[in-house]
Symmetry: C2
Subunit: 153 residues, 2 copies
């Protein structure tokens, strides 16, 4: 994961059949540095500008969609107001912290007893979103024995 970022990003672009432009390279280098990330277009744009990479918001959107089509990213729908893109494209699910808008990958969730899809349809994907609240406005400490062990719903 600590590999030569330029080379790695270049590689990904080439495999996706995308010309390695300055903008795409910069975005890819940031997105695919080995961390699992959940970014919105605005966040990624801001980040690029911080790094003094001049790129327009339109290009950020284009690039995110191209990367998604290429299977490098996965779009996560959790919030009606913004789209998140996840650099982790393997099977997994999410905690979504409603207050902060933060997403967090969770693994090993088991979904069972799904009904058969209607005729003519096929399951494309199963998404589990666990929405999180703050425990308590009073600032109480969380005793780690609480509820939330009743994993079934």
């Amino acid at each position: 994961m600590r590999e030569r970022p330029y080379k790695h990003a270049l590689d990904l672009l080439q495999r996706a059949g995308l010309r390695p432009t300055k903008q795409r390279l910069a975005l890819a280098r940031f997105l695919f540095d080995g961390h699992d990330r959940h970014v919105t277009a605005e966040q990624l744009h801001a980040r690029a500008l911080e790094d003094r990479v001049s790129v327009s918001l339109a290009t950020v959107y284009n690039t995110l969609h191209q990367f998604t089509r290429a299977g490098l990213l996965r779009e996560v729908v959790v919030d009606a107001n913004r789209s998140y893109f996840d650099t982790n494209t393997s099977e997994h699910h999410h905690f979504f912290h409603e207050k902060t808008g933060e997403l967090q990958d969770i693994r090993d969730v088991v979904v069972a007893n799904l009904p058969q899809p209607p005729a003519g349809a096929r399951i494309a994907r199963v998404d589990v979103v666990v929405r999180l609240d703050d425990t308590d406005e009073s600032g109480d400490v969380v005793t780690h024995s609480g509820p939330a062990d009743r994993a079934d719903i």
Copy 2:
């Protein structure tokens, strides 16, 4: 479920502490007629106009949110482009037909092995969205023995 729609709607509004205006009554009568419905604001608005109930889109939005706050509806986030409101407020999950934008309730899904939420957070809700594709552009018949039985993911 076949009860006097006026009375039932009136009742719901009263219990929710909302003045029974013409608009709210009309929307409530349609929404809570005993069927499970998944509506967008636009759809509900169009439907009201068909029924010759004059109501503005702003009021439809207001009303949907008021009903949601009152626990009469549940907002479902499945599509980045529109909000759905579900008249079924009990524990259940959804099939989402990506092509048509249709939602369908599914019951009895089991979600297990959820990790503990991070300290300070509490699970507010678990949403399972099963995204559906068309089986096949060639129009093949679905043999009901196919995949989609491997319910775990």
